[in-house]
Symmetry: D2
Subunit: 139 residues, 4 copies
Amino acid sequence: MDADLEEPAMHVAAMMKTHPRPIGRPEDAFAGCIEACHDCSATCLICADACLSEEMVEELRACIRLDLDCADICRATAAVLSRQAQGTFRELLAACIAACRRCGDECAKHASHHAHCRICAEVCRACAQSCEHALGMPI
Amino acid sequence: MDADLEEPAMHVAAMMKTHPRPIGRPEDAFAGCIEACHDCSATCLICADACLSEEMVEELRACIRLDLDCADICRATAAVLSRQAQGTFRELLAACIAACRRCGDECAKHASHHAHCRICAEVCRACAQSCEHALGMPI
Amino acid sequence: MDADLEEPAMHVAAMMKTHPRPIGRPEDAFAGCIEACHDCSATCLICADACLSEEMVEELRACIRLDLDCADICRATAAVLSRQAQGTFRELLAACIAACRRCGDECAKHASHHAHCRICAEVCRACAQSCEHALGMPI
Amino acid sequence: MDADLEEPAMHVAAMMKTHPRPIGRPEDAFAGCIEACHDCSATCLICADACLSEEMVEELRACIRLDLDCADICRATAAVLSRQAQGTFRELLAACIAACRRCGDECAKHASHHAHCRICAEVCRACAQSCEHALGMPI
């Protein structure tokens, strides 16, 4: 009965299809990238807090910081890609790719000890890939 | 081959399961609520921009504002629920429910004219429900 | 010559004066509250990272979490108060006051050891006061 | 008596001085840049809403979008600069400079008609300058 439990997916793709004036951007690549950015931001927020709960928190300082940086940058990227402003998004996608790569690399170091870092590394790399895909589009 | 295209769902539930020290919160209700908040925030960002593109934008001012308010509050709620800080989340869930209800009601007024408002109204209401569910949990 | 170094204050009050359609809110109380929320959010972000750098980071976990929660909620509150949407802000101000009080109380416990916590406690309490002031206004 | 009314400035510089482990970044340039980013984000949020209130809102669509983009990117930049994570900030500063320049240029077009756009253009340009200053620092 709970709509939220039965339908866990995001509605980004459906929403992007209803947008009245896409400015020529490849709709599907962008929808996928926006979703990946939201997912990565959400994942990094949880990974940062999970790292903070670990006994050896002092060894995870860099991971927590890169998680939080990645969460903020992915969120901003998702928001900017959701808007039809012309031109601002290229530099931001480059920054987002860099943040996802760095966070993914750091999380990968801890993947064998912490399941949250293992998942987070995968999500960060998928997001970086998705941003590269969007950046490679003609517009 | 693109991981981001094949696996569109969020990783919140998987991440919450790996968190080393849940402070007694009902994990599943919270994971569902966090996902609903991210989805609602993402949806409202797109709805605001879609409204801004409509020819009759001057009639959608309230809708744009409530979309943006809802996006900000849902995002903050998702972030706070992702952390194991004790006590801060009840008031915020109440604020989030109020924001989702108001945005959902306003979007519902435009649902017959704008598909983005129709979807957004549904997503807002599902998110309000999900927040109410989380708020009703014992901890 | 650097404009940014010579003029460190925020421009919120000046901006609020130029807004074409204030919806009857007491402009000055809101401008002060918006500035206090931005300041508190900025301060809490730095306090969280400073705590994370401390040798005894494991004793500062609650402080880091409350800092990050407060930063997110203050930011959302500032954004919502900056918009002329009707009605959404009361519940959010209540949540913001609660977050500021909790963060301020936690930081106050560490004030004698960490200067960043001492300053942050003061800023959080000033922000809570400013939000209470705004909440007490007729509209 | 209201602390928030008597002390409107931000506490970023004071906080940065108390941070226990600066990773070699030029403290003052970064503090100035973090403040400029928060100020610009705050200003752009109000400018977007003020534009939305203008009678000729349909002519201000691009301005509203660039304001919101700039607000999101400046906020993320301020958050990332507030943390001592190594390496993520250069690409983001580049994106922030681009966003501030574009928003400043668009707002400047409307400066003679709308005081909020005039102030916002100045704040955006000061923020771009401040980011360039930080980017030019040795570390």
